[in-house]
Symmetry: C2
Subunit: 356 residues, 2 copies
DNA sequence: ATGAAAGCGCTAACAA
DNA sequence: TTGTTAGCGCTTTCAT
């Protein structure tokens, strides 16, 4: 690949001298700006190649663009977010823009720091996945740099948004469970203090859809919203408690796949199977399709969302002024983790029947 | 959190004016450099707060440090890498350094571009996970910026390394399988052209350890190294072919957990179970412990490796000159995916007995 | 302990 | 089409 790494040693000045032209000329060539003769272009290109010149992004940032777009991500350990990144990376692949990722430090909630860090580094645009940062803060931010938010249901005419129809997705899950015949359906969602919880956040929308669906099915008195810290182990523990209750639910709808895995684990811990308790998740992470897991879930099309976000950002950087708000339609994926509830009868819990 | 986002509008000049001091004074305060009276420090701090000043990283980068460390990662979709990131993030959490991640664009193999992008952005140090980039290129790089490589077995006195003892890890797996009584053990490893393959890379070391272990066990004639493109689906396909062979192996040792999941999938596809074919992986990603998967694997202590890498980098940035090469000891984790082979006998394959 | 001034590498007017 | 020049916001000697 590149003959050898450059670390700022050779400057535009050196290239200019080597090629016998002015610095401005070199500058124009590297940005392929208007008004350079093919001849000069060639000579400069040759000098650049020969010297292994790389423009300093810092210096560029002081005047113009850095050709960098930043994306802030809450947690990489949840496989849904890498999907977003894959999409964004793909969309940027042809462009002159380099993607850098700033992980939101879990110690310092909700991404403010990470987003600010990106802006401090003069990125030309920001993609962020922070459902709870203050809208006013975001608008102030977006006044200075193009911003695309992923997963926010609020509308702004300052920043763009790419969002999944979470109401629709959650309703698809509920319809599926109700159609199977379930009546005791619990919903597992993040505890307060976790990203995703808070009005307007995807998880909150899903909770509402769950409640509404239960209500509309005449099951208002069976609504059961269980809160758990994020992470599969935590959800497993909480689910274990839920399953130990005398009137345990016949189905659990988890707000996303990670906790759903925890619930599946708890089901196994309790010596139960999918025939006893159905489990549904949300996101369709890769492992959900594995026969050992086989989790019914909702495909959010994370990769498409990431790609779309990057595309919108490039448009903004290119000058678009009108805000855009793109809604991606989610899709239910039915697998073996959801089954009809056991037929009526008392001691059904005593015998667990295995099988995929 | 931060009252409102700043986007370069207020400069060090503004702060100096507000506080009635020189720019140099402000500069000293924000770096808490030597020679500032508490009085001035307080006044400046107040002005910074009032104006919401944020130093421009670009401008800083032109003279001194950017307080940014960059990490290059080959693929975020493999859950092992987020472990590394979690460790690095934790180690940096208290420091003034911000972590930015540059994903290696799969289109442009082996991370050269991503690493260069980081250097172009004047990061104060680089952590990279590219087993195959040319050592000379790296040494040239390391001459200009502190570098810590993860997973490289070669030694350099220019850059540091954090590496797992892959030979030992692979040997632990082989010892386990041999102890169980397996003799027909195949090894699944990345096809040429994939990161990880190439001399000195972790995967290559594991292949060698596999061969040696077979040889030493007197099973040299049963050595079977199968190559597959990366990714669970690809490995599943390849494994399906392997399992269809008349003399299919009784155990498959996959070079890491992702392909191991693919093999498990193939085992299920073929209507077989862990009693028919044992499967072992490498990395101990979180899902491996799930009862639906229950994969025997090797814990590389990825989080510790990430933390260590960040610590070494900070030391380098602080001035250490002597190279360091840290080896982390891996640990076998035995789960239900590995069992003793079926007792001798012909039509053993006809009946599949289920289990945990 | 504090400030003045030079300059890092680049881009963007403006002149030629 | 090409070159000249003036900064961008900061850090860093070097005086004071």
């Amino acid at each position: 690949m590149a003959s050898r790494p450059s670390a700022g040693s050779v400057t535009i000045e050196d290239v200019a001298r080597e090629a016998g032209v002015s610095r401005a000329a070199v500058s124009k060539v590297i940005r392929n700006a208007y008004g350079v003769s093919p001849a000069m272009k060639a000579r400069v290109a040759e000098a650049i190649e020969k010297l292994g010149y790389r423009p300093s992004v810092s210096a560029r940032g002081m005047r113009g663009a850095t050709f960098t777009v930043g994306i802030e991500i809450p947690e990489l350990s949840n496989p849904f977010f890498p999907k977003l990144l894959a999409g964004a990376t793909a969309a940027l692949s042809g462009s002159p823009y380099q993607l850098i990722i700033a992980p939101a430090d879990p110690e310092h909630g909700e991404g403010y720091r990470a987003i600010q860090a990106l802006v401090d580094r003069q990125v030309d645009g920001v993609i962020a996945v922070s459902p709870l940062v203050d809208p006013e803060w975001l608008e102030a931010l977006a006044a200075n740099v193009p911003v695309v938010m992923i997963g926010r249901h609020d509308r702004s005419d300052k920043y763009d948004a790419v969002v999944s129809d979470d109401e629709e997705g959650a309703r698809q899950v509920m319809r599926h469970l109700l159609d199977l015949g379930h009546r005791d359906i619990a919903h597992l969602t993040p505890a307060a203090g976790f990203a995703g919880i808070g009005s307007g956040a995807p998880q909150a929308i899903r909770v509402d859809a769950y409640r509404d669906a239960m209500q509309e099915a005449g099951l208002g008195d069976r609504i059961r919203v269980v809160r758990s810290p994020n992470g599969a182990p935590e959800s497993r523990r909480v689910a274990l408690g839920l399953l130990a209750e005398p009137d345990r639910p016949t189905a659990v709808f988890a707000s996303h796949d990670e906790p759903a895995l925890g619930v599946l684990h708890a089901v196994a811990d309790a010596g139960l199977t999918a025939a006893d308790v159905s489990v549904a998740g949300y996101d369709d992470i890769e492992i959900a399709a594995h026969p050992g897991i086989s989790l019914t879930t909702v495909d959010q099309h994370g990769e498409r969302m990431g790609r779309l976000a990057a595309e919108l950002l490039l448009e903004r950087i290119a000058g678009r002024a009108e805000p855009r708000h793109e809604v991606v339609r989610p899709e239910l994926v039915v697998r073996a983790s959801t089954r009809p509830p056991r037929p009526r009868g008392g001691a059904a819990r005593l015998r667990a029947v295995g099988g995929t």
